[in-house]
Symmetry: D2
Subunit: 353 residues, 4 copies
């Protein structure tokens, strides 16, 4: 492993520390590595050592190239200085693909507390978007004004283009209120962005890796240290894992449906397709045909007919699947592939607005 | 273990199945046990066996008495029938403290999907409030109307009196949108209710315990089965754990602060105390005294003075602690206990509104 | 789940309690289940409740049919009574394949302490051999005489026909010395039998599942409870896991090599083949040909030539692979498949003695 | 973290690489750290990079100072060169207590394969004994001759002075036979040395940390990576964990009893005390007194009397406790402390031989 400290901005005292692991040789199946950029916290007043090197270690163990960004703090933290520090770091990292032996499309970021705010801004509003972001007990909403009045609300900035996010924190955090995490998640959910999150029952702010060498284990849930391994497992699902000379395909689908695309399709949710009068017409006609038996081989599928049970009640199973993609519903109903494609062609002519 | 099926409502086909473990004898240190009431899902159309006995097993292993409620479904699910089924079950369970050897103040509930909705209603609006609730990929908001139009939104019902909650689900759930969980959490955060949550990256709706015998492990994150052990760990933090002939004290604090109490105190957050003109006056006077050095032994504490660093910037550390309780801030500033009590006495005369 | 108590031997008070889970219906992909027979400990003086039902729960959760055997104790424990109780139970279980919906070739046994002795005897000397055995802080050697003078040493009975075993215990066990486990493992290693083992740093005898409801967690390593999940993971590797209407292929190879077979083959270890004069002749001739370059395409493989390095030292890489199967060595050396088969044909004519 | 490469022996190309973490400052509660010396494997032919830096990372994360020893290989590996390399490294590490901020009595060693042999020799026969040893799929017995004919059998060298050991390996290792581990454990058990061990069901030799970046996860048990965290947990039990400015007391008792001391005591096992004619006389008299009721308040304790049950059988509970310390038996029998001390005084006059 080679260690290198690069000055990004001398006047603002901004540095990037690189921890570069070997490829080839005994690591013969590895030609490049994914990368992790660590952004320590410190209320935009300092960059905490507790959230720097101890955090680098587990990602190095997992095979990542790791970088630590020490960004503009105190009066230098006036916006957009910290975000520009990040942009500069990420540009440099991706430009050194060959020298540092890393995959430029597999560079994640992890930030804690105020560093989590900066990572959240990287995820939502940067030019050099990371490929995944881990946000630890992060300040994400308006609360950031308390430590940096010029810094923006990252929750309001969440869009469909926000990168996949992994959030963790403790519910009893008395520095950064837990609704910073829960509101950010709701924004991700609305925007259809991939995420995972773990909110542990209790524990103080600033627990870093929750190793006994950085955090007293009194007063914090025994589950809190689990975020480290969980974040690594999640990164493998999002970025892929080491395979023979390359990285495997990611296992985690980035989208639940295509509800955020400009044109409709069978990959949109039933709910969306039923809320648009043009697509609703197509669906109504289609289901009517199915229920009437015109489409013979799936006429008996319980999904496509109202059920009258022994007690006289009635229930339409379609009401249970409004959040599924139309494609899933049709597949479940064993609708032939060519029929599905016909419907898709019709839907793709309708604008999603 | 004794197994017993009790009919709660014959006409609506409501039953409670009890799994009662021994106490005393070789379990000599156990005189009573905590209890878990399992509420399976099924879209208020049926009660799923996949979310019944397989769920009972881990809590039995952990030492709980376990009950499964099969509640009113289909046309019988018209509100408030299912909630009344729950009320009846919980009343019965607590009334049989001696016969069934359980602690009536340590009865949790776990519900899945639509059963998670019913458990969420138990947590927020029941007369017989559970002592903790585990909510698995639960329908919690208005989405419940899709399967039971008469059922209420449990998110809107969250108050300070909601019981502690543990939530888990997968982000890509295409039956119950994930914002059911994230919005419920935000409501809990606002109401100051204890919770823990785990949202896994991907996986289908309805994975139950995520054992290979109830759920194909293809297409779901390897972390998903972890909710089972995590929920047990959490229950021990909330209800206490087996000790010698009793249960130990819970480790998880139920409140972060006392901001939801009718009168102010030093256990309210700085933010709340600064937002009320009466308490703000008291705080301002107090901090002025401290900064002026009148309160000699903590005059030098950096918390209580503005900092002018070498570059001319200025930063008031108090802005970082607005979410802490005043008591924590004063303790951190080494303010003497009798001074804290004086301030408390003054604050307790101010109404919290 | 149906629970049933069957009297196996009234005069000796021997019973089998069955916990039978449903198949089909909502468990539609399950037609039968693997099974676990639980044998509690108690020094052949009683059958401990602490090692009965609490142990059944995790295997029920994992999808097994579970049985508890309460066998002959006190003066009835005179050998071979307890082993005959086991034989009777195992015969009954396998005979009820259809009624109890279980795979008769996937019936494991788990025993604790003296029950671990009985499970060890089942694994090594029974007529109705289990398909896998879990041995918890088991009495396996001559120490069993202390509690049952007529009982046999199961370590001495280990042969190639012993079933796969999973052992766990604590090193500081002051009732059953830890060498009961380590000597049993050495016997398994010598006989080429599959096993896994976990010896935890410290803890008392008799910790059962190490749940707080059966064991004080003071004075025992925090890793001890891990044996439960590990044993389930191991059973899936040995017996296969639930697949769609069947069980998947086991992942764990039962043999490292074929050194315990009556005739030699390329699947025997280099060590064995070199120790037999007939096979040694074949190997010597083969390697000589390879080193001389007669077998052109693998002549340069470093495995097949002595290395003289810059410092004049010499090292034959073959000395590092004496425990590998000849097949692995030849594959590593890229020897063509037809050459390997020729060699195999020659070796299979040589008796292994 | 500072990284430093120190040449220990230029002619044999022996180096020690140091990874030194900060103390004080933000790690204010840490004044020194425990240390780990990593010894890579490679058949005494090379030092594998796969078992060097990837292994350092988890111990750095856990808060240790870490060192990697690259020792004499090939013709330089003639004994005792590698052991002398170790001695030199360990002496240097302990001598730099102040500069490298480490606890000289909390320096562990970890070795893999042939490096595990060297670590095993460090544990059993070095002048500078480590405080704990982690032995990964280690060559421990005579098998070492295969790769280094001059190297000694470490199993034969195990005595009561061997340091606590943690062993892990896979049962199907086809390079180092698993009985290297099981026989070493039996030797530790006989010598009364503290240990923990994990033998996983299957997997190849040389899996290092079992991260996907160093080892293909095909063909190895999913439990194999667990050794890393388990070894850290074990080290904390043996060496203590970070406390406030110091290390806490170890939780793992180093001895089960005092059977390896030169003089007898009540802390010796019943078995030992009954096998020595002098101490047996004392015990017999004592138990006779107890059974006769002469020692009134514990006369009724079932431990001290033969039991005749309803069926005419007879059982002496003392036969179950022969491996317990006499002190434990007497405490269990509620024998008064002063009586115990009297007995102890008598026993301490008897030589243990």
């Amino acid at each position: 492993m080679k260690t290198e400290v690069i000055t990004l901005n001398e006047s603002r005292n901004v540095t990037l520390t690189a921890y570069i692991q070997a490829v080839g040789g005994e690591f013969g199946n590895i030609v490049k590595r994914p990368a992790m950029l660590v952004i320590p916290g410190g209320g935009y007043q300092f960059c905490s050592d507790r959230e720097a090197e101890p955090v680098a270690m587990p990602y190095l163990k997992a095979g990542f190239q790791v970088f630590i960004l020490r960004y503009s703090v105190k009066q230098d933290a006036i916006w957009p200085n910290p975000l520009e520090d990040y942009e500069q770091a990420m540009e440099l990292i991706r430009s050194k693909e060959e020298e540092w032996k890393l995959y430029p499309d597999k560079v994640a970021v992890i930030g804690f507390s105020a560093g989590g705010h900066l990572a959240g801004c990287a995820a939502t509003m940067s030019r050099n978007r990371p490929n995944a972001a881990v946000l630890g007990y992060a300040v994400l909403g308006e609360d950031v004004k308390g430590c940096n009045p010029s810094a923006p609300d990252s929750i309001a900035a969440v869009t469909v283009d926000t990168c996949p996010c992994f959030l963790f924190s403790t519910r009893t955090d008395n520095v950064v209120p837990i609704d910073n995490s829960t509101r950010f998640m709701t924004a991700l959910a609305e925007a259809g962005v991939a995420f995972e999150s773990h909110i542990y029952s209790y524990g103080p702010h600033g627990f870093s890796t929750c190793d006994s060498s950085v955090q007293s284990l009194e007063g914090i849930s025994v589950r809190a240290p689990q975020w480290v391994d969980d974040s690594i497992g999640w990164l493998k699902e999002i970025l892929g894992d080491f395979a023979d000379g390359c990285m495997s395909q990611p296992k985690c689908p980035l989208r639940v449906n295509e509800d955020h695309q400009p044109w409709l399709s069978v990959d949109c949710s039933m709910k969306l397709l039923q809320s648009n009068p043009h697509s609703k017409g197509i669906l109504d006609y289609m289901f009517q045909m199915m229920q009437s038996g015109a489409a013979s081989n799936y006429a008996d599928n319980p999904l496509f007919k109202s059920e009258s049970d022994k007690d006289g009640g009635e229930f339409n199973a379609l009401s249970l699947v409004t959040n599924m993609r139309l494609r899933d519903v049709l597949n479940f109903g064993q609708v032939p592939e060519n029929v599905i494609e016909d419907i898709n062609t019709q839907l793709q002519k309708i604008e999603n607005k």
